[in-house]
Amino acid sequence: MRLALALVSVVVLAGSGAVVLKETKATWQDHQKAYFAQARLQAKSDAERASLESKAPKIEQTIVTAFGSSRVERCESCHIASDDPRFSSTSEPLRTHPYSAAMGDIYKDGHWERKHKFSEFGCTSCHDGQGRGLTKADAHGEDEYWPTPMLGYTVQADWKKDNATHLHGAEFMQANCAQCHKERTFAGTALVSRGRELFFKEGCFGCHRIQGISSGTIGPDLTEVGKERKLDYLWGHIADPRAYTPTSVMPQFKLSDEDKKALVIFLKSRRGGSPSDSSVDQYKVEASNATPVPESVAVVATAIIAAKTPEERGRQLIEGYACLSCHKLDDHDGGISPDLTREGLMRDHAWLMSHFQNPRSLISDSNMPSFALPQKDFDDMSAYLMTRTSALPAMTPAQTFQTLCARCHGENGNGKGPNAIYLDPAPRDLTRAEFMSTKPQLRLVSSIRDGVAGTSMPPWGKTLSDAQIQGVVDFVWSQYVKGKPRQIKARKLPDTNPVAMSADSVHRGEGIFLQRCTGCHGRKADGHGPNSIDITPRPRNLTNTAFVQSVSDRRLFESIEYGVDGTAMPSWIDYGLSQNDVGDIVNFIRSLNTSSK
């Protein structure tokens, strides 16, 4: 026992010694001692030399109060030579902070005068990082939970390796310059301006709101995204949205690395107000911007050259408003949204105007933003699109399919075209034999000829003749379906709902719906029930008014009573629903879709 006691006492003493040593012998002291030694060698007078000999390392601390909350900055405890011009060629951390005219520094009488003095600005207002840290890992913000790692220098452990290679470089600090230097033409924030340009040019303004700049509502508000997110997230989310947010509908834009960098720097500069504003000033800015001309409009308006006809103006607007960052027109293809090349053959002016004003009034789950543009601009753009009526050159059904259909339905017909993830409802998987082989040919033909209301399937009746349509159907059948049409027993189905529409019927139908249907179709009947994530094709959005109104009672009855082959919709007649029950359900569904939105 005595021996054990002696041993453990030694361990405790040694441990205490180690703890004390760790706290009192710090790296920053070594750096300062190295600095004093080197400064002594360069000292010009004995007095200077003597004072350096007697100097003991101490924490160099600045407290910066100019920018809102008071900040403690201890960076100079290691970077003690940052204001000493004699150390411009030493290695870090004992290197002089660069001087440059671009940063406003003035060269006078043989020496530089710094414009952004450390005593006023500190270090983290430009560089980010953790001011109070006294070790490199702490101070540079290398801990993955620190929200502001040093911009362009520090990569945190949980950043994706692919992104991290792009996130080095002093130019990322321009995002911080822009916090105070907000002028659009400031030379030091060139990449911020380029990023802002891209924000418009690539169509980001349509989905995202940035206060004073844009008012999109589909994507998150980016007014303060620079404060909320780190470089890794910003870059990664632009490069591959679904890697960070699996359910995101944000398109994956094809951008070069330089463009991505400029966009990331622009977004990082969005901190919601400048630290140099007092809090009262910020409110003044907000109030005066209550109803500004959206910058998106102003930017484009100045770029449009005088056009002779509305159609010509419309064409310029379509390019100016970045429609082609998503849509396809001739050779310019954003790769995300439908092809507008023959739009004049597919839609009419009224449809286009309604669609511009609110895409969701015609296609319930469209992810196209509602652009807040002047009515005249919509008119001109519709006028232009209505001129797009060039006939399809002669081609085989296979070629027709690849030209017109593959963009959504995929070149393999499996519904996985390049657009498909952005479309809701998703394009039909034509290889699903159980589905295709149980639907009458007439339905397939009319879907192509008249389109499917409420979905992105347009009417091709004016582009394709009846013979061409039949040709495409035959092609699809032979190429993709690979099944035989199945004869379905004649089913006893009413043509119209035998149960009269009434408040009672709707109430009963709602009851059954809540009990039976919400697992897939969701409590809001929008197709987002808890089971819907695992089902392909997804359950129908029953509040898609355009679609529901285009479907006959008979078809609704058939789908509910006998299910839909090739989907997860079961035949409810096997689960005890009577025809009256189904009639109530149909009345309930109709009641959800009475208003013409």
Binding site: V19, K22, E23, V72, Q130, R132, D138
Partner: protein, 435 residues
């Protein structure tokens, strides 16, 4: 005059001795009588018996777990008080204070680390101590009530750890407490009320932080101290640590006892004192119970001074060494500041509640309230249910195989659930492989 000089001289020379004698009424012992006396003439030491059984001192018997738990509590109190000089229980300031502890306060890192790891260690050691007491049957009469106090102490330890978990006010803390208090809210009838009293609000916020701080820093330590004091008192009064019935008690030799009222002991003066079967005693007090040592000195006991004290000192230093080593090499976690819009997926309770959370994932009421409630009830009633008197003082006694098996099963299942909850549950509480 010389006499005065002598006395003055004497008192000057005696000064240090006077000082020490005024503080320490008895000198360090050099005889057995002195060693016995230390155990009842010292304020701190008189909780301990004069003699302690050798078996109680064997490391393999108790592994010092109870002592380790107590010393961890002492370390927690000491480091906790030091931390209190820097911490502020405000939602706007708490996280910043934690950052300051890490970057600005001298010894801040080691202090916080020691507090964190000692806390986790205390939960684990208290649990292991409970297992030891069970497997050695040391809850049998007369120690039933001490077992009940011990179970209460276990609950208080868990509560202390839980209330302290919230204080850093980072994502880890916030969501762990959100999960834990939600489980408490599943209790029928009183669940919502309990949750509201705990949180002071519908959700975790400034009120909860302040309440948890007060509980953690004042209320629970006070209650814990009182329970610990009673726990130690009952150890003494129940006859020390449980030991096995070894040989049957030696036949008592009847000894004639004369009781005299004269308090002064009878001293031999000049003539030789006759050693006769008759002994003389003055009454100190009347004690009931199996504590009559008259005429029978336990063979396998040793003096507390120095044996027990050396053992305790060893355990204390071992505990300090352990906590210090772990704190030197491993940093307590500090994640992002609280963001109520961003629950982590999955949001996990502290490790000692992860078994509960795993159970809750099957059934909110039965998993979170029902089964744990039954477990706690059985634990509390254990000594009154299991009334067999055999197998005390030995590990895994054959006679208690049934009870030991059930308890072992309970321990293994709970550890298994905690392991599953910690390593094998990912987003949406789906089963994931940690490899």
């Amino acid at each position: 005059m010389s006499k005065d000089q002598n006395s003055i001289g004497k008192s000057v020379v005696d000064l240090p001795a006077n000082v020490t004698r005024s503080i320490f009424r008895n000198p360090l012992p050099t005889s057995d009588r002195g060693r016995a006396a230390t155990s009842f003439t010292n304020f701190f030491l008189h909780i301990q018996p004069v003699r302690v059984s050798r078996q109680a001192l064997r490391p393999s018997y108790t592994m010092g777990l109870g002592l380790i738990s107590f010393f961890l509590f002492a370390i927690l109190t000491a480091t906790g008080v030091l931390l209190m000089f820097y911490y502020v229980p405000s939602t706007t300031q708490a996280y910043d204070r934690m950052l300051d502890l890490r970057s600005s306060v001298v010894f801040g890192v080691i202090l916080r680390n020691m507090h964190r790891w000692a806390a986790h260690g205390m939960v684990a050691c208290v649990f292991l101590h409970m297992c030891r007491v069970f497997f050695t049957g040391s809850y049998k009469p007369p120690r039933e009530f001490n077992w009940v106090i011990g179970v209460c102490l276990f609950g208080l330890t868990l509560l202390s750890s839980f209330t302290g978990y919230l204080l850093p006010w980072d994502q880890l803390a916030f969501w762990a407490i959100t999960v834990g208090t939600s489980i408490a809210g599943y209790a029928p009838l009183v669940g919502k009320a309990i949750k509201f009293i705990l949180l002071g609000d519908a959700t975790v916020g400034q009120e909860a932080l302040l309440r948890f701080y007060v509980l953690h820093v004042v209320v629970l330590p006070l209650v814990l101290t009182i329970f610990v004091a009673v726990h130690f008192w009952r150890i003494r009064k129940d006859g020390g640590l449980a030991k096995p019935e070894s040989e049957p008690a030696p036949k008592r030799v009847p000894v004639q006892v004369e009781i005299q009222d004269d308090p002064a002991p009878i001293m031999a003066t000049g003539s030789i004192a006759v050693a006769a079967p008759a002994r003389r005693f003055t009454i100190q007090g009347l004690v009931r119970g199996p504590l009559v040592k008259v005429g029978r000195l336990e063979e396998d006991t040793v003096f507390s001074w120095p044996n027990l004290l050396v053992a305790e000192l060893f355990v204390l230093l071992l505990t300090i060494a352990g906590v210090m080593l772990v704190s030197f090499f491993f940093n307590a976690p500090l994640e992002q500041p609280v963001n109520v819009m961003h629950p982590p997926n999955p949001a996990k309770a502290p490790w000692y509640f992860l078994g509960l959370q795993e159970q809750v994932s099957y059934s909110a009421f039965w998993g979170g309230i029902g089964v744990p409630g039954i477990e706690v009830l059985l634990l509390l009633l254990l000594p009154y249910i299991d009334r067999g008197k055999e197998g005390v003082g030995r590990w895994f006694a054959r006679q208690r195989i049934f009870a030991n098996s059930i308890f072992l099963l309970f321990v293994i299942v709970n550890i298994y659930l905690i392991v599953i909850g910690t390593f094998f549950r990912g987003a949406n509480w789906q089963f994931v492989s940690p490899f």
